[in-house]
Symmetry: C2
Subunit: 208 residues, 2 copies
Amino acid sequence: MDTKERILREGTALFKKYGVRSVTMDDIARELSISKKTIYQFFKDKDEVVTLAMKDFIEQEKEEYAALIDVKNAVEELALITKCILEDLDDINPSLIFDLQKYHPKAWAIIKEFQNNFLRKAVVRNIENGIKEGIFRDGLDPEVLAVLRVQQIHMACDNQLFPLDKFSIYDTHMKLFDHYINGIVTEKGKEYYNNFLRQIDIPTTNHY
Amino acid sequence: MDTKERILREGTALFKKYGVRSVTMDDIARELSISKKTIYQFFKDKDEVVTLAMKDFIEQEKEEYAALIDVKNAVEELALITKCILEDLDDINPSLIFDLQKYHPKAWAIIKEFQNNFLRKAVVRNIENGIKEGIFRDGLDPEVLAVLRVQQIHMACDNQLFPLDKFSIYDTHMKLFDHYINGIVTEKGKEYYNNFLRQIDIPTTNHY
């Protein structure tokens, strides 16, 4: 791994743990035992580190989702994607999401673009498959429900809708997902879902 | 009805039919056979007409909802509130919603405030009642789902999420409502819902 990559990896790790505002360029340099000057050889400013770190992070997410090809059915796929999202949230200090929204619009735009485009399309395909498999209800509109699902993910991270002092992002996300899936499954799908939830290890509470 | 009220009623009617941008102060004056000067005796400008007209409209909505006290159960209440919303949407040119969002933030804020406060609280109570009645699932979080329901209403009217050239606000709203209710009902609640849908006359397509 070259120095630029190491800086991005370390930046991502620190941002996830403490949010963006609390992490200085000095902190990143110290963790890597390099000088701050070295960081500025590769990055114009902190915003650039944040933006490229989030870009990196999204690329890894895409790879993780692409690896979910070998699933048994649409319920399993949906639950596994949600498990990925929940594990990410479990790993992330809510300050990161808050700081990105407020102070790093470029980085936040990358995440929203991923959700509105890549993730939305994945949900459309998932619904189409589920209907074919008879585990999602007939007559669902995949385009409308995919927008809903992605908006649910935005919502859970929206501090104005769900203030962090009253709601946990992780917990809200779980509840919205549970509602989403109950809203689309047939009886057969509901059985799969309940069984599958017991098999996979979705943590029910998170660190934050 | 005094002249000011007549202007607001006529304004509301015209805005509903054509949106805000296409309706001039001259149009309102002509419909009422009064002079434009008379309108300006009561209102500073068009934005004030729009804002007060929407305020009026929201007051009527609140009365309509308050009249829904005598319902049999939470499913019936939810379906009747949704019928009100759908009938409003059926009555409204989508341009009105678009114009308010874009050009009349004060009037739009009144509508959002109604949804985020009055309507959200009504949904919380509805969920609590439904759980007690055994027709909504145990373990639902009323606060989280009420935010979701109100956001669904905003979503359906959001031209960026559901572009008007591809989606109908009315149709999107119907689909999101159907998903919402399927996501919360027990088996018993689902039966009520399907029966009740047949009884009340929710139009399945609208004028726009």
